[in-house]
């Protein structure tokens, strides 16, 4: 069960294979990769800088993984999130969930992303031709989170 915050890029193929091959009883691997889009709110993006809260970020992500494991029968999961300055088409985040069957893996992966988006202390600032701007949190992310209330 891995959580990593890093500035470097990550190799999705390698990470998914490691997760999968270490668990021969697992049949289903669901993953999410987020990338920096070239255009946001109509403006082209030069760079995207991710700030975070060292210490809290790791514990928030570990808590999200732990909560997913109590809700669903998972064999392993993985969260890798980059910080620092990225450019369009760079990978931002990988969340991967391994389970015996696909239903639980899909639910757990989406749950982890919805929690990450609303509970983990990351902030995004983008540079556009109009200058620098902080990205606002989305109401749709709060709505996505509410679906998981028990």
């Amino acid at each position: 069960m891995t959580v990593r915050i890093q500035t470097e890029d990550f190799d999705v193929g390698l990470l998914l294979n490691q997760l999968r091959l270490a668990n021969p009883g697992a049949g289903a691997l669901v993953s999410f990769v987020g990338q920096v889009r070239d255009i946001n709110d109509g403006d082209s993006i030069s760079t995207l800088t991710l700030e975070h809260y060292p210490g809290m970020t790791e514990s928030a992500l570990a808590a999200i993984k732990a909560e997913a494991s109590t809700r669903w029968d998972l064999m392993d999961s993985l969260i890798i999130h980059r910080v620092g300055t990225l450019k369009p088409l760079d990978q931002i985040v990988l969340v991967a969930v391994l389970s015996a069957h696909r239903g639980e893996a899909f639910k757990a992966c989406e749950f982890m992303m919805d929690y990450l988006k609303t509970q983990a202390p990351f902030w995004k600032k983008e540079i556009t031709p109009e200058g620098a701007r902080w990205i606002d949190a989305k109401l749709s992310d709060d709505a996505a989170l509410k679906r998981w209330n028990k």
Partner: protein, 85 residues
């Protein structure tokens, strides 16, 4: 009591620093009280902490609501709603 306060993202930029050690008056016992007290520091602080914009808080790395109690040596953080992922 003494606490550490951290600021992040646009709040850090507005106050122009990222961390400070504070010795709180005896009646500052919750996040709400701390926000109101910080708002007295001047216009920049009032704009941030007068309740007109959403400022999230964490105590010792846990997200909390504004009614949460502060204890001596806590690490309190203020930041905008998060936007990772």
């Amino acid at each position: 009591m003494k606490i550490t306060v951290l600021y992040f993202a646009r709040i850090k930029e507005a106050v122009n620093y990222s961390t400070e050690e504070l010795d709180l008056p005896n009646d500052i016992l919750t996040i709400t009280a701390l926000k109101n007290w910080l708002a007295l520091r001047g216009e920049v602080w009032a704009n941030l902490f007068n309740g007109k914009q959403v400022v999230r808080a964490a105590i010792n790395h846990n997200l909390v609501d504004d009614l949460a109690k502060i204890q001596a040596n806590d690490e309190v953080a203020f930041f905008p709603p998060v936007t990772g992922g």
